[in-house]
Symmetry: C2
Subunit: 251 residues, 2 copies
């Protein structure tokens, strides 16, 4: 095993925690981080003292409040979500369906916010969840506005199938992305689950660069797409304006 | 200067970022973290490669999405806030005033969630903000249910004054905390700003331990406290139930 740098070892302790493992014993952390128990103990102690980790009564470790406070400064995380929340709430009040805000990280979408109606379709995606770009509405909206190289690279790679309706043909995906750019909205029907449909629109920052995407996920069976499109577009424009985007002057 | 451990140095880079300094150059980071430029460069590179930091086009560093994803696992951070959000939204829809969720960290409240009506009173507290316990409604609700020692320690220390109405007399604070325990709600009037009033209630986890507090902040001038109390209580009980709390059986 190649020697690992000090930062690498410390970060591997943080990386030991994920949604399947939100609470870990010292032994678990050592094993998952590939560290000796002695090293794990030393690093966990330092992280706990700083507040990046918290030890509960049972001796199990969780991610700590101090780390959350620092992470709240992430411009593409909580900061973006704070600016967007009022508009997401308006979209939720208008539709009473699942509403989400996502950003692109390489070939995946990362969900920054998720407001779910307790009565809404049973899609269970948590904040911080990742998903491939081609299957979801937000993913299509983000990919359609990514750089040409990024799009070509994505279309060239194998496209994972989740349902019989998932687009896995690169040519078909390219046509869909062109359609998204033309219409300004992305509609993904039954591509993630058999019963769900999502309508998404890109969120632009200053200068018009697409910074995020907003969408609603509804039951495909009785989806009123023409009704959802303007609502999602409006929410996306509202967030874009709050981020400092201004619509281009009409000639 | 005493030699610093590797974890301490790496964490000092993260600690260099705060709400006044969400974006920093490499030089700023080195200065604020008390590191040589060489060390800062090495640590920032490691953190950026891992995704804890992100470097923008102008070469300035921000907190990265990856750190935000790990922090989303903090039980007292995003995890708590995800469970609470639907109830906070209901409280917002019922009052259309500022709604917040906070936890106690030592002698301070830390705001985990903040939903503000665009028309609501101009209190501007950001998610992640800290505030002393004795002045805010959520702080009083949390302090009233903290351990006896924690309460005594807090009352023994000097109490900061923010307005002429801020409680700074320990005896008066003790009486107020007893009142909060008796009534199950905390009302803080004009203690933080001259024009605001907040009504807060404790949120309990499994076993009945107080894990957080929820509140509404309204303009003091036309505050309808008797109307707000049941709404805040209901929201607090809803979140408590979602956290696994069950009300004690009546005899």
């Amino acid at each position: 095993m190649t020697p690992r740098s000090a930062p690498d070892r410390l970060l591997s302790v943080l990386a030991a925690f994920d949604h399947e493992h939100p609470a870990l014993s010292l032994t678990d952390i050592g094993r998952r981080a590939g560290l000796t128990l002695t090293t794990a103990h030393r690093l966990v102690a330092a992280l706990t003292e700083w507040g990046a980790l918290e030890r509960d009564a049972s001796g199990v470790y969780h991610v700590g409040l101090r780390l959350w406070e620092v992470a709240a400064l992430a411009p593409r995380g909580l900061a973006l979500r704070q600016i967007a929340l009022p508009y997401l709430e308006d979209l939720y009040e208008a539709t009473h369906e699942n509403v989400q805000l996502a950003v692109r990280d390489g070939s995946e979408v990362v969900y920054i916010e998720w407001i779910s109606g307790r009565s809404a379709v049973g899609v269970h995606i948590r904040v911080g969840a990742r998903w491939p770009l081609h299957a979801t509405g937000v993913g299509l909206a983000l990919l359609a506005h990514a750089g040409q190289e990024a799009q070509e690279e994505y279309c060239a790679a194998p496209l994972a199938r989740f349902t019989p309706h998932t687009i896995t043909d690169p040519a078909k995906l390219r046509r869909m992305l062109a359609e998204v750019r033309r219409t300004g909205v992305a509609v993904s029907s039954r591509q993630v689950t058999e019963d769900a449909l999502s309508v998404a629109a890109p969120v632009r920052g200053p200068g018009g660069v697409v910074a995020a995407a907003v969408s609603v996920v509804v039951p495909q069976a009785d989806a009123q797409v023409p009704v959802l499109v303007p609502a999602v577009r409006l929410a996306a424009r509202g967030i874009s304006r709050a981020l400092g985007w201004r619509p281009p002057k009409e000639p």
